[in-house]
Symmetry: C2
Subunit: 348 residues, 2 copies
DNA sequence: ACATTTATTGCATTCGAATTCAAATGTCAC
DNA sequence: GTGACATTTGAATTCGAATGCAATAAATGT
């Protein structure tokens, strides 16, 4: 049996009914107009200091806070940035999300998070993004040219994170340079029989790194490279290594850290090999797991902090000046010399 | 001289200025009233099927999407849930955030993310939450009684994740039971000289597990337990283990997985011990890293999926029926028998 | 045919803050 | 005291969709 709720009756009493106080409530109590109250919270508004004091006092007393929805509706500024991230990215890179969140909140932006489990969900996410009129978007998920075009149409600035698309701003870590360095040093250390653990074909980062690694190997004279595709997970890396072993390789390049770690476990536990004596393994990312003592992976670390800072800088610039051109920034990763591979000092 | 701005004129012409089309634009083109357009998108509204068709056709043609801000302002429903998570939690549990996000979006809620780097930021976050009139909140950060009270005042339902507070709904994993099981089995396997790696004193989860472990040890007759506090990180666990070693313990209980992993590396790499022959180490969480082959940690796995599902169920229930009482749910973790500890089949 | 119910429809108002405009007040110089 | 000017102020309008209400049209009953 539903007990009698009294919300209806209280409706007209104003504020007594537990509804949040509005600028009108403050105005009424302070004996001023609603405009005056509004001006107290605007940065460059013209208002007498004394009146301002009074209004702020009343506002504090009754606990008035401007309603973000109403502000956004009228001012066309939500102070919200949508962040699109694949669940997978977040899984390997919680750091990226944490940094983005922290920096955005420093700049007084809130984060509307869209964590995709599949890339196909992007269209639905974009729909929500338009409806919510966010001020900008940072996407660590792949966007098709048609999707990128929607951003221009809707006049919403977007910055891609570790992705590219013509006409869109982006921030990424240089895979080509990184893989060239890793492969170059492996070659310089004398490795000749390689194996490659690549990623999903529809993943931009995976394909870029794969291409870069193969290119570097070819330039070093290595043309036969057995390859197994994984899906970025530990398990897939471990399985891939078991498969690659048949080809008798002595140096394995994995397009990310997690699979490289899986490969190390396969080598040591499943195949009884010593790393790096029998087998050199290198990854890419410099994710937290690569630093664990049991792995101490040789890898290329992405400068996450600098990249997220740049992403936000580019985004904010374009939010504040819609005519600013979309800029692309490329960062170099740093080679971390772990103990999972025998590599040379230089890639000669 | 009043500059000839054409907004006024275009207002009626509509849409030529690159602004998103509104329900008025659709109404004008379809030759109906704005109310009719609105009713097309409401679930139980009364509208003639033929007219509905027409309106939807026009809407699709000009790409009309209801503005979420305007809808929220008038209907007092944002369909947004705020998620408060400490950067640390997300770092060890990206899974939690991914699951919450996925389930919430299934239920047509968007996620406004607040990732704290310090617990002291909570007040600022709450302020933002009130301003944005979110429909509900899931908090994996500690809330003081005063903060919990604010939720009641503002009539915003909240569900705590792995935290408790009187008067607030919560979902958590049973630390007491889990630690009792772990410690019981370590005791049953003959361990007598224990060490404890605990966490920050201001962390609820850490203190609960610490208390539970000490209690279980005491009940088993072990009263002298050297203890070192860490901060949940790998490095702190590794350092703690080095420190504990002086006390000559042969079984180490860590209040989370990451520190347990650090402890394993300290034991093997820094101290030259074999795990689990010389030393048993157990953790708590069942986080991704605990499953890595090189560690294969003995731990208690939290049923993340069931917990997140429950959190959302409780939250949605309270969003839909404000009078629903705050419910508390406690889940049992499952003991994962890894190879990092010598434990008995049962905790006799 | 007429009364009565039911389903559609549009008008006008509402949500809460920002902003334009013009009126009101105050300041200063001469 | 007067005019020129800057500063405050409030009334009215705006953002875009939802909804109570009354009017209308259509369907049903007798």
């Amino acid at each position: 049996m539903p007990k009698p709720r009294s919300t209806k009756k209280l409706k007209s009493a104003g504020m007594e009914d537990g509804r949040r106080p509005t600028s009108y409530d403050v105005a009424r109590i302070a004996g001023v107009s609603q405009s005056a109250v509004s001006r107290c919270f605007a940065p460059n508004a013209s208002i007498a200091p004394a009146k301002r004091e009074l209004i702020l006092k009343v506002a504090a007393e009754i606990g008035y806070k401007p309603n973000a929805l109403a502000q956004a509706l009228i001012s066309r500024r939500t102070n919200i940035v949508a962040v699109i991230i694949s669940a997978r990215t977040n899984f390997y890179y919680p750091e990226v999300l944490a940094e983005l969140g922290a920096r955005l909140s420093d700049k007084d932006f809130r984060v509307l998070l869209f964590a995709l489990s599949q890339e196909s969900e992007v269209d639905g996410v974009l729909d929500q993004i338009w409806r919510h009129s966010v001020d900008g978007v940072i996407s660590a998920a792949r966007l098709s040219p048609a999707q990128v075009a929607q951003f221009t149409e809707h006049r919403v600035p977007v910055v891609l994170y570790n992705r590219v698309a013509s006409g869109a701003a982006s921030v990424r870590c240089d895979s080509v340079e990184g893989e060239r360095d890793l492969v170059g040093r492996l070659l310089a250390a004398g490795h000749r029989r390689f194996g490659l653990i690549s990623g999903p074909q529809d993943n931009y980062v995976a394909e870029e790194r794969r291409g870069a690694a193969l290119m570097a190997l070819m330039q070093g004279g290595v043309t036969q490279v057995p390859e197994v595709r994984g899906d970025f997970t530990y398990e897939s890396g471990r399985a891939a290594m078991r498969e690659l072993h048949a080809s008798g390789c002595e140096a394995v390049v994995s397009v990310n850290d997690m699979m490289a770690i899986g490969a190390m476990d396969a080598a040591r536990i499943d195949l009884g090999l010593s790393v790096p004596q029998d087998l050199s393994i290198v990854g890419f990312d410099g994710s937290g797991a690569s630093r664990l003592g049991a792995y101490d992976l040789t890898t290329v670390r992405q400068p996450v902090r600098r990249m997220t800072d740049a992403a936000i800088e580019l985004l904010v610039k374009r939010i504040e000046d819609a005519s600013a051109p979309p800029e692309q920034r490329l960062f170099s990763g740093s080679l971390e010399r772990g103990s999972s591979a025998r590599i040379a000092e230089q890639s000669d």
